[in-house]
């Protein structure tokens, strides 16, 4: 695991997401988005780790991440997803769901669409209207699904004004499993769980942390040779048999790491200590 770049950005980062690459593209990740929380003015920002004119000996890019553009966001950014190459969907603590559009020609972000009363406890019609935070958003072009503290699930379509469908439920998601796992945690740690079978010496450690979000490397899960032993290493109850190498990716531990995202060999994460960490060489 080579160098990891840190940058203090004066905002607590609640979510970071890499911009998806066009299918069949040979590029590596270049752009990521972040959302902030707990500020009087929160922002959704786009950052680039692309070409600044410096190439290192491997032909990779040097230097830390630079801000491309940002836009004010009302309320905490509770969740953030790339809808497609140019559009970002955010879930707000005000109960609002917003679609932002990125204009690459003049490097600006603008509001493309907004559903301001997506989540609420007492409805917009009632005299004691109170909004509820929208806690999660997931997209699959052209549909957006949002969930909130009011217990609703909404289904929106990107071009429609109203929610297509509303369900009252509570949802829990569990990720599926390839051979590399990355977790970030409330206690400020960022771990890489490597269950690949070609590494000779491995230690088995079980990390105990607070609430954490787990994430799985996209590229590896698409490999054709994900085989039986890989899957079983995660589910194995015998720690001595299938070993997992667990590495801490951050140099020092302070406040909560709220969010992480991986695209190919690139990882980005954001913390409550108002810092963003990026590395481009996860597997070297």
């Amino acid at each position: 695991m080579e160098e990891i770049y840190a940058k203090f950005v004066s905002q607590k980062i609640s979510k970071t997401r890499w911009r998806p690459l066009p299918p069949g593209s040979l590029q590596t990740a270049e752009t990521f988005a972040t959302g902030s929380w707990d500020n009087e003015e929160n922002y959704v920002s786009l950052w680039s780790i692309g070409d600044f004119g410096n190439l290192d000996s491997d032909g990779g890019f040097e230097g830390d991440h630079q801000l491309l553009c940002d836009i004010r966001h009302h309320g905490d950014v509770m969740d953030l997803q790339f809808f497609d190459q140019e559009r970002i969907v955010t879930a707000s603590s005000t109960g609002c769901v917003t679609v932002f559009l990125h204009h690459p020609n003049n490097q600006t972000l603008s509001v493309n669409q907004q559903w301001t009363t997506a989540h609420y406890h007492a409805g917009p019609g009632s005299p004691s209207y109170s909004s509820a935070p929208c806690t999660g958003v997931v997209c699959n072009n052209p549909e957006i699904v949002t969930v909130g503290e009011d217990g609703r699930i909404n289904l929106f379509r990107a071009d429609h004004k109203e929610a297509v469908r509303t369900i009252v439920w509570e949802v829990h998601f569990h990720p599926s499993n390839p051979d590399h796992l990355f977790t970030c945690s409330e206690d400020g740690s960022l771990w890489h769980w490597d269950a690949s079978t070609d590494v000779p010496e491995k230690l088995s450690l079980f990390h105990q942390g607070g609430r954490s979000s787990t994430f799985l490397s996209h590229s590896i899960s698409n490999q054709a040779n994900v085989h039986q032993s890989v899957i079983s290493s995660w589910l194995s109850t015998d720690p001595a048999k299938d070993r997992i190498e667990i590495t801490s990716l951050l140099p020092s531990r302070s406040l909560s790491v709220n969010s992480l995202d991986i695209l190919g060999p690139c990882l980005v994460c954001g913390t409550d200590a108002e810092a963003i960490y990026v590395t481009r060489h996860l597997f070297s």
């Binding site: 406890h121 609430r211 200590a273 108002e274």
Partner: protein, 597 residues
């Protein structure tokens, strides 16, 4: 540095008429509340409509500056690392670790300075450009002081090395010399360049003997040689090349006493200051601070810095570091905690006044052994919780530190919010997490009421999976068990359901008000083809029914609605009596003929 005796700036608050009415105010942790009172300033009280708003006024720009936030965040990481340094380490290795920490702090200050400098240059309007520039000079002064403290107190350089460190210190802060060097060394014949000789004087302190010079007769040469031999008067003549008195001090020491001992420094410092100012101007706050440092009066340094700087960041971190160097005797303040702790508490309290930086404050309180915990308890309850995610973060902080009172209090607040928003399942989970029996009872009552009104339960997955948490309150246990009854009924486990139903009443955990509902629930079981309730159980049910009806209030004057309700009640009771009697008959017959199975 702040001007101590300048006129304070007047801030006009829109909407408040201070000429007509008296204003009142109160201080908060980082801001002030101001509003109009109804007391008029004039003698006669006129009915003037006063401004209905209360204003929150903040002065402290520091905490809100985007760039300074990076200072707060990065230094927080360094602070934590310092606290975790192994206490076992002693001697050289400990000292080098502490010096490294000090250098880390300084590099963070410098990074902040650089960035602010860039912003100052790029500023579009001159007023904000000036503001940023003044921040840059404040940061520069802070770094200057810290650097000197590092040399004198942390590095504790002995005579000989001391001067080398001081040379570096001055060089770092006198950029003028560097830009001059570039000019001169680039020209054709350096010794003919005017600046060369000036450079020779100022540059001696940074380049030592490395500059070449010719021995041609030259008036400048004489001055140069005089200075090199330690002639202070000659040095003073070149005052305009020396940017300040400490530059003068170090240059002077270089030629007159390069092996100066630390304890002798303050003599030279005081006289350098006096000579340099020459009675024309009086020392500024920065000068006094540096003097105090040369006198090794740490307390004075910290006191003067506290007065001169507008927030606690600098003194809190510096004092903490010096305390780790074991340099501060316990300097008791009237409420008993020592100076380091006092400053850290002030700094952390300031952080808690900020909507975002409160999270940093938590760690600072952790390392204040006397009053940290109690301060944290007070502050953490007052953080506004607008999302569950934030509440969970705060709760985790409290749970990690076994602050059970605060956990309970926060969970109660969230449970109350949930009840108000009719999110009963959420409210119940929060009351369980708070281990709050009274609130759990309240929420369970709501559930039961909802059930009576709508005929079904909400949040079934929560109630079905309560587990041991069910024992928190009787009402909650009842709710869980009642739901279990419905499940058993749904699974057609009638005998079990029947026993459970009966036990709910006989054990006393079912509230009286609910007995009618329970008895009504018994009806379908009584009317089944097979006999479910045994004779004994039927007797008990009858007993319960009689208990219930015997406590009826006396019928008095009642309106139509009440009469109707009572009619319904009477009909229900009649039906129940009938069903119970029939079941009793069947049960007796069955038990009599089938060996009581």
């Amino acid at each position: 540095m702040e001007e101590l005796d300048g006129e304070p700036a007047v801030t006009v608050i829109p909407g408040v008429n201070s000429k007509k009415n008296q204003m009142c105010f109160d201080w908060g942790p980082g801001e002030m509340l101001v509003c109009e009172t109804s007391f008029s300033k004039k003698e006669k009280s006129e009915m003037v409509p006063s401004c209905p708003f209360i204003y929150i006024i903040r002065k402290d720009v520091d905490v809100y500056s985007q760039i300074l936030r990076k200072l707060f965040n990065e230094s927080h990481g360094i602070f934590l690392g310092l606290q975790r340094i192994d206490e076992e380490l002693t001697g050289k290795s400990r000292k080098s670790q502490l010096v490294r920490v000090s250098k880390n702090y300084r590099s963070v200050i410098r990074a902040c300075m650089e960035e602010m400098h860039q912003v100052a240059i790029a500023a579009k309007d001159p007023a904000s450009g000036r503001q940023f520039s003044s921040q840059v000079s404040i940061l520069s002064a802070m770094e200057l002081i810290w650097n000197l403290c590092e040399i004198l107190f942390i590095e504790v350089a002995p005579a000989g090395h001391l001067l080398l460190h001081l040379l570096d210190w001055v060089r770092l802060h006198v950029c003028e010399v560097d830009s001059l060097s570039a000019d001169v060394l680039g020209s054709e014949n350096p010794s003919n360049h005017d600046s060369f000789w000036n450079l020779g004087l100022g540059g001696m302190t940074s380049h030592g003997w490395s500059l070449p010079y010719t021995f041609a007769t030259n008036p400048h040469l004489e001055s140069l040689l005089k200075i090199m031999l330690g002639d202070e008067a000659a040095l003073l003549e070149q005052k305009e090349l020396l940017s300040n008195w400490y530059h003068f001090l170090v240059t002077r020491l270089l030629y007159s006493n390069p092996t100066v001992k630390p304890i002798d420094l303050h003599y030279y410092a005081q006289s350098s200051l006096d000579l340099f100012l020459g009675g024309e101007s009086s020392p500024e706050p920065l000068d006094n601070i540096l003097l105090a440092a040369f006198e090794f009066d740490i307390h004075q340094v910290i006191k003067e810095c506290s007065i001169a700087l507008s927030n606690w960041w600098f003194v809190a971190h510096l004092t903490d570091l010096l305390d780790h160097c074991k340099l501060l005797q316990s300097h008791n303040l009237y409420f008993g905690s020592n100076m380091r702790e006092f400053l850290l508490l002030e700094y952390a309290s300031g952080l808690f006044a900020h909507p975002s930086l409160w999270q940093l404050g938590v760690d600072y309180f952790d390392y204040c052994p006397k009053l940290g915990r109690v301060s944290l308890e007070l502050h953490i309850e007052r953080i506004p919780l607008n999302t569950e995610q934030k509440a969970l973060k705060v709760l985790r902080i409290c749970e990690q530190r076994q602050m059970t009172e605060q956990v309970r209090s926060i969970c109660k607040i969230l449970a109350m919010k949930a009840v108000r928003n009719n999110r009963l399942g959420s409210a119940l989970s929060w009351s369980i997490r708070a281990k709050d029996a009274a609130f759990a009872t309240l929420v369970s009552d709501r559930f039961l009421r909802d059930y009576c009104e709508r005929g079904c339960f909400s949040d079934l997955d929560l109630i079905d999976n309560l587990g041991p948490a069910m024992m928190l309150s009787d009402r909650l246990t009842f709710l869980g068990k009642y739901r279990e009854f419905h499940r058993m009924y749904g699974e057609k486990r009638f005998a079990d359901a029947a026993s459970l139903l009966l036990s709910l009443m006989t054990s006393g955990i079912a509230p009286r008000s609910f007995w009618m509902t329970l008895l009504t629930d018994a009806l379908p079981l009584l009317e089944q083809k097979q006999v479910i309730f045994s004779a004994e159980q039927t007797y008990e049910l009858m007993q319960c029914l009689e208990d219930l009806t015997s406590r009826r209030p006396v019928r008095g004057e009642s309106d139509i609605q009440q009469l109707q309700d009572e009619d319904i009640e009477t009909t229900k009771v009649e039906m129940l009596r009938l069903a119970l009697a029939r079941n009793l008959a069947r049960a007796i017959i069955r038990e009599g003929s089938l060996e009581g199975s």
